[in-house]
Symmetry: D2
Subunit: 485 residues, 4 copies
């Protein structure tokens, strides 16, 4: 489950003196994590038997057209199935990584909706026109998700599937035309990185988008993007509700930084950590072969240090890992540079792994923004490199600093096997959710099971590494670094 | 969580008519999953403050020897912290993958012990002689686990660490001497596959082993191996109890097949699935470039199909996946070969992925055994290849069958990044468990959290793929294959 | 240059007593390696200025159609440029790898035709219909060659390019239609292995093929295949000559075994040696981690040991390399098994790398043939594994044999970078050769330069490793193995 | 062979009017490429039968110590064997890539010394103390060369082998001690990148080095480094000559930029081009997935564009390749930016690959030097990125520039298979050369054969890409880029 103090918001609003505060909390939780359904605004939306039937016969001659399921099959998810969000019972607030609502950390049941195919579907396949868009920065696995959305739609019997090129801009930009998608078109797209549909940041207003969707007759929209993109998707969902048009809007969270609330991880993260090993290993080899060599690797992670933390843990070659969530001094008795001096004297070489968002406090603020509204960060990698050279020059110890910034090389690659599986299931479940009539939802993996969450709950604030979490402590054990405060 | 009908055994023994059957079940569960502790037999075993202190300062001149923790630190796990084994509430027995104790699948709390460092330790580091052994077949990550057991032991202050060469045989074989281990020795062993200590199957009797341990003064034994090896470890644990000697025996489950009960996955499995992609992709390319090409890939998986299932899902290039748990016919109207004919006629080529243990019912039984007591399997890969050639010859359709069996190429490789992290944490937690005085336990990842389980509960029977599980259904959706019964 | 005793044929036919035997030999050589040209049978075939002009301007508005070269350009090859086939002067017959015509190995000039674009071309681009076919087993780089043939044809101005599916069979098989090719179609095909056009063995008669070519109006045929395929191409070339039709037939040698005469290497060989490292490294890890472990790897190489030799050299982990060209005993005082015993006693483990064609003398002959007429080989890998187990059982020394046969995994992959470059230039030069009016030729890399050779000279007999060559001696130095005779 | 106008120097100094100018040129060439030998200054240096004998028997019991060769063996190279440096006869100065001495490009024989084991050796193995040093920047394969120098020395019977840490600095730096080397120590070092011995730039004076060598009793010195390092090695060689001490100094050229005269390629270059593909492929994916995406990749290549050229050729995804040797304009009618606009309008995206040394004329000179005396370059990659953004802003066309600079990731990696073989043979031949009594030589691969060259001839000036060479023209054909002048 996630690494963050989820209870931050709700804890404050609970009146612990109330004897049945637990029941009230569980009620409130259930309400917040309930997932919007078409019938909320279109109560008489028609439900029919699902055309998604797994127990297919390979088509004998007379059924060449399709595969009717001709027997009882326990393949559907019941709408009341639930998955637990929190699965640890902390016996005291001092337990490592404890997340407690009350003083004795009593266990509270926080159930969220289980993902998967439902028996009843709210769209006739032949009436569906499904659209897929990919927004924001690239991420390994985008093509895998697109591919399985298309394959699963075809299994339901949908023939009319299109890709909207270059994110939300595709709705308004005149010279961008819809790209017809089918199993044949997407057959091998997962063998290369990037997005078949192209990505971009920003885009037209919500009403322009919904106007365009109505013109195009789109009634299923699958949105692959980060927090900003999901906010857009939710606004589209609400606009369709306001207009009482039967549209399912389903998000699939895409962020290389893994900073989406509640989820074990987001697709592409495993691949990014794998690719980051090449940069760390090269920095280790350069540092280890140089006289007093110091390797510095800067990895993606705007305001969360998950990639830097996991990549350091996986490599076993990192001596110092610096992430945005954990403050540190460079200079002074407990500073990073002092420990670096100790490492050079004892081991002869060292490797530092920093998240791009770390140490911003050392750099002048630039209030420049990129097209998605992300603050443009100062380059901490270059900064720590210069500070290190100055420091060792002052104490006249010769060192050799090698700086590696793989930038896009860790995200513009094809997904590895474990991300391939994650994307396959996310793509399948996104389609199951839309056909089941849910909208304004996003799909994620929680405690190894797949769930639907209301977009609002997921984009409350970006997830960040909990400095008291077990994972950060394990990283400290592996690097052997002290606190730099 | 696991993919199996855990409740198989306990369900039968519950008297559902008893109104507090749920309370009784939870009590019985808690009892079964309680973890043996040294104080069970040595009640006056001395507990001291843990020497594992994370908040280290880089040693100022006067503390060059060690790092005393000088402040309050929420880094320890409380012995009463628990992790939930089951996290899905199925609202009906017909829900996909439902595991129910009673008819309305009421939710039951099944808590297991959380892994991690404890405040109290039962061994003085300077009195510890720790030994590590690796048994059975190779698995990616063995060196990563060895490495982090050694690093974590050194952080506790242990100086006397040895490797017993070639598994249990190392205890009795005269010309095999102990291998002294230290951080320096293990610094880069995780960069290559295999086991630094060497592996073998079988070994001397339990009493011979414990005699040898007493001679060598070993009081912490870390055993990396599969179900059989864990049975041995548990017998050693019980023998030490009988002799009332203060020894902690801790297992780390190692099986490329991922067939260990309760656990999300075992280390090395992700890497094996990743490496299997090369075999599947080559089979796809051969099949796709040949006239009526059929690629056949045989992967490891003696009696469980996890590698074949996950590798097929990840590749997106497999048309037919055959695993031991799901019966199938080759011939007949619903047979595999009929579907293969359909694929050749429509797509022109096909890829079949089989687990080595699949289709044994088609082959004559050989009651030969390997040194670990595993039945020697008939070669189903070669069998299906011959049957396919015969079938298409009879219907005079020219085909070109290409057979790939990567055998050891998927396990004799270094661990990938995600396995590297899993091994790091398993190694750290194995040492935390031993120092906390637990013995006869094994460490595993359950719902993304790490837990200690009594060995007995883990080796009850090998985990296998549940044909009604969501994961198998997702695999069927991805391959598009029908039931072959 | 090649590793073989090229002089085998010609040496016998030289009368060394004749004082100007050298001049006569050089004359004869020049005659044999002269390359057939269209004008040999169509003396008044029209030559025009080449439309291949490199010094293009990016098209200003008015030249959007094409890129006229508007200046003097030294980019063409002169028809009289020559490349030397033999570049070593051996000062005595006892020099390592010496290839001598006479007793004192006097240096003889053996010039062959240099490949590349000519100033005069014999086809008007708009009248060209070019066809490409790929025959025989797969090889990394097939798609790279196809891609650059298409790109270079388009630069010349050719619009009508087709792929004939599944090799020569594509000419006769009714339900196989031509595949239109363009830069757009081939843009990314080099990113995946196999052949876009599909491969097969055998095919219809020569006259049927040429009939079909005339029907289809094909006047340029590019044939990618091994020795057998090149014999076919040469027969097509001669048939077109007989029919006095203006057709250019150009071959590009494709063989994973690298057994094509005269050439430094064939495309795909580097990639196969690279991929073979995975199998050898896994065998090394298995052997090194087992008690008395012996790793056995079988690699492709029907009657030449180039892959086994180069892969052993590259890995540095092979103790014994067995190739078809070098006889060896298994048993007896100088046998392989005796040396294996020595290795187990001194190093504790060993790795053997065998070419599939090695040790056929130990196996019963099967006169089965595959569709290309290649003899079906006995499985020497399995044989040496059984013999090894028997041998060590008799001397009651426990060993653990691990056998790896990567089969298609070393050829059904995309080309690596160095093969990518080789294929790029081979593809470009094949088109330059056809446009220059040559036919019945094949293109290859000789002493790092590209040359055109008459197909007859290249398919005289398959190249094999020269046991006295420097490369085999270097391999022996690296493995440290003795002679097994 | 090399890509450069080798004849630049010698051509001018030839008096073409002299009828036997060719004989005189060949005489002068032979003299310049003769290789210094110990007997030049120590005429009575003793020659003994070589102890390097390949045809070993696996030691029967009584010869366990060594392997006496007991039969006639054609394994030695004769001192008079020669390899041709130039192998193309250009029939006119206008032929592509023509290198002519006189007007009609008459063919001239330029023979250089063939590398390999000699029958006579000038050192008794038991009297040899061999030292290895690695200088300058890292390069894939350094460990492979070190490994095979050690293995081959041991086969000769040398027991006393040391590594001098951190390049020439290791001779003078007091707290750096010699590292004893043996087959056991180097057994697996080739499995990881970097240098076992460590590298550094600069170092003490020549006489200090030779003093230190005499103190240490080193009589064989193997120097792995670039042009600067080879100049140092040659100075050491000459100093030993002056002091009449019997020392063999042999260089092995190490440069990631492949800018060493005469040689086909230097070790590590293939691996660097392979690794560069990851950066180019990521830039292609980013550019291809973005709206008007432009990928910019900066690769190593201080003053030669070999890596950028070969990496562009291999990838097939580069539209514009900019190297130091070929001048170009950014702005103006034929500028790079104009072509970029054309590519964006027609293909929608583009990839530019630049060598770090390209376009320095656009940047202010900084006369800063690194420790090896290399000029510190302005960052052209950042410059072209900014210019591109400005240009498209002015013509108000939205573009998305993605910049990737893999820096050390292409050199701090282990060698691939083809480099592994090159390093194996270079290491073996370096030892053969030293034992044969040669000194002041370097070993390289020329027209696929291995040769010894006098250091002076190799370090005359750095090799650079010949803009008229076939290879650059092939690169232009593959990218489709025009001249930017």
């Amino acid at each position: 489950a996630s690494e963050i103090q989820h209870s931050k918001t709700s804890a404050s609003s609970i009146d612990l003196s109330d004897p049945d505060w637990k029941l009230k909390y569980e009620k409130d939780f259930e309400q917040r994590f309930s997932i919007p359904h078409i019938t909320d605004v279109l109560p008489d939306a028609e439900a029919i038997r699902s055309t998604f039937c797994l127990k297919m016969r390979s088509p004998t001659e007379d059924f060449v057209g399709g595969y009717p399921s001709d027997e009882e099959w326990h393949g559907y998810i019941n709408n009341n199935d639930r998955v637990l969000l929190k699965v640890i019972s902390y016996s005291s607030p001092t337990s490592a990584g404890a997340e407690c609502l009350d003083h004795d950390c009593s266990w509270v049941e926080q159930w969220i909706h289980r993902a998967g195919p439902r028996e009843k579907i709210y769209f006739r396949p032949e009436e569906v026109k499904a659209a897929i868009i990919t927004c924001g920065g690239l991420c390994p696995g985008l093509n895998d998700v697109i591919r399985h959305i298309v394959i699963t739609l075809e299994i339901y019997g949908v023939k009319n599937i299109v890709g909207i090129p270059f994110g939300y801009r595709g709705f308004s930009d005149k010279d961008l035309t819809e790209m017809p998608l089918s199993r044949k078109v997407v057959q091998n797209i997962h063998l290369s990185g990037g997005s078949l549909l192209g990505v971009s940041r920003g885009g037209p207003s919500v009403s322009e988008i919904v106007d365009s969707m109505e013109e195009r007759g789109i009634n299923m929209l699958f949105v692959l993007g980060g927090n900003g993109t999901h906010a857009g998707a939710n606004a589209i969902h609400n606009e369709c509700r306001k207009r009482k048009i039967k549209v399912a809007v389903v998000g699939v969270p895409k962020t290389i930084d893994n900073d989406i609330l509640h989820m074990d991880k987001t697709f592409g993260f495993d691949t990014a950590v794998e690719e980051a090993q090449r940069a760390i290993n090269s920095a280790y080899i350069e540092a280890h072969s140089a006289y007093h060599g110091i390797g510095v690797v800067k990895l993606m992670g705007r305001n969360s240090g998950f990639i830097a933390m996991q990549a350091s843990l996986a490599s076993g070659q990192v001596d110092i890992c610096l992430i945005p969530e954990v403050p540190f001094n460079l200079h002074g008795p407990n500073g990073v540079l002092k420990h670096l001096k100790y490492l050079i004297e004892t081991k002869g070489s060292a490797v530092i792994c920093v998240a791009e968002g770390a140490g911003q406090n050392f750099l002048e603020k630039t209030n420049a923004k990129d097209a998605s509204g992300n603050a443009v960060l100062g380059d901490f990698g270059v900064y720590i490199q210069q500070e290190t050279k100055k420091y060792f020059k002052e104490i006249s110890t010769p060192i050799d600093v090698k700086y590696i910034d793989p930038t896009y090389m860790i995200r513009a690659v094809r997904a590895n096997a474990s991300d391939g599986i994650l994307c396959t299931v996310l793509g399948q479940n996104a389609v199951h959710g839309a056909f089941a009539g849910y909208s304004g939802i996003t799909v994620g993996i929680i405690n190894t099971h797949y769930a639907y969450l209301p977009i609002t709950e997921v984009i409350a604030y970006p997830k960040s590494v909990d400095p008291n979490s077990r994972m950060w402590h394990r990283c400290l054990t592996s690097t052997g670094q002290p606190d730099f405060i």
